[in-house]
């Protein structure tokens, strides 16, 4: 039986249509499920066949990270075709046909990787369709302390999750909001809030909560703990590298720039050189909270 489910992530709606047994796999979306479509509605993701298109124009292939899925982007007329592979060199396992404005997505995937395909498709299209709405879909781990969210950024393997875990061990009242892909929003009143999402990497942490951002910290592994405020250009570079988006589309890049440039002047980004120890968590927390 085909059904349609509605979701609300960080105040933006989308739906996923598919066979009930496939939708039943999407337990990570349950905390975000709503009965009725919400406004604004970003996109409808429909599972089904994508007809082959002989004339596709290659736009861009993202192979920035060996451990991340490979994403190939094509134009089909004014629409998009986006193809996913599990890793940099593996074969294509999912194909998406996406309308020009990203509002309608058809997704066809190898049944063995349907969950991977839905998660990545929804994450990508969510990022593309919110970029012009003051939203950054970040690659970060977020821990909440005293009602504020602290985002830890860094390349894969730098210890974002480890640093979150150190905060949880060091501060008994702290809790994990999301471990991989939180949503950051610049609100009309210039407050910056962070939201949990159905996407959290390897850590099953799908929390539908919103908190103001207390700090943004770029992590680097180092032989000793040290922290300093990054310059605006440094902060911009790291925030952009940590934000999802189709950066070769000028309008989307303009939107990401606008959001990031504002956010980093509201929340100064810290650079933490750190060991994986509780002293790093204490240094980080005390520095941000005395500023």
């Amino acid at each position: 039986m085909v059904e349609s489910r509605n979701y609300n992530v960080a105040g933006f709606g989308f739906s996923i249509d598919g066979e009930s047994d496939v939708l039943a796999l999407l337990t990570n979306y349950e905390p975000f499920r709503v009965e009725q479509p919400i406004d604004p509605m970003l996109f409808r993701l429909v599972l089904g066949e994508v007809k082959p298109e002989p004339t596709m124009e290659h736009v861009f292939t993202d192979t920035s990270d060996d451990d991340m899925p490979r994403i190939e982007v094509y134009h089909v007329g004014r629409d998009w075709q986006i193809q996913l592979a599990m890793y940099k060199t593996s074969p294509i396992c999912a194909i998406m046909r996406v309308s020009e404005d990203f509002s309608l997505v058809r997704l066809q995937a190898d049944p063995a990787v349907i969950k991977f395909a839905i998660d990545n498709a929804a994450m990508l299209i969510y990022a593309f369709s919110t970029a012009d709405k003051g939203v950054l879909e970040m690659h970060a781990s977020v821990t909440v302390k005293d009602g504020k969210g602290f985002l830890f950024l860094g390349k894969s393997g730098t210890g974002k999750s480890t640093h979150s875990r150190l905060w949880l061990e060091t501060f008994p009242e702290a809790w994990l909001l999301n471990d991989d892909n939180p949503v950051l929003r610049l609100l009309p009143n210039n407050e910056v809030h962070v939201y949990g999402s159905p996407w959290s990497g390897k850590t099953p942490c799908y929390i539908n909560r919103e908190v103001p951002v207390g700090g943004i910290v770029k992590l680097t592994q180092a032989p000793a703990n040290a922290i300093h405020t990054l310059s605006l250009p440094e902060a911009y570079a790291y925030m952009l590298a940590s934000s999802s988006g189709l950066k070769i589309v000028p309008a989307m890049m303009d939107a990401l720039y606008n959001t990031i440039a504002s956010v980093i002047q509201i929340i100064p980004v810290q650079g933490l050189e750190c060991l994986p120890d509780t002293d790093a968590a204490k240094l980080c927390e005390s520095t941000i909270n005395t500023k």
Partner: protein, 89 residues
């Protein structure tokens, strides 16, 4: 000299950054910071025109209170740093 294609000049706080955003610069993973004067010069030549130090010096004297000698020195220094940064050819 000519600028390379695929760069975008963006204001950030009191400065400017030049970022590789076009397909031509998809692998350009550095960021160049520019002060207001350098950003002004970049904007003057961003249409892809041919330029040399004298041309930049003329642009400087049009906009700023600066002697022709000083303008030429500054322009040569700007070209040297842009060449080093590989954003012009």
């Amino acid at each position: 000299m000519k600028i390379k294609q695929g760069f975008k000049l963006r204001p950030l706080g009191n400065e400017f950054i030049l970022v590789g955003e076009g397909l031509e610069q998809i692998n350009f993973n550095r960021m160049i910071t520019m002060n207001e004067t350098a950003a002004y010069l970049w904007q003057r030549v961003m249409d892809g025109q041919d330029f040399d130090a004298q041309r930049l010096a003329d642009y400087l004297t049009e906009e700023y209170e600066v002697t022709p000698e000083q303008a030429l020195n500054d322009s040569q220094a700007t070209i040297d740093s842009w060449l080093k940064a590989e954003i012009i050819m």
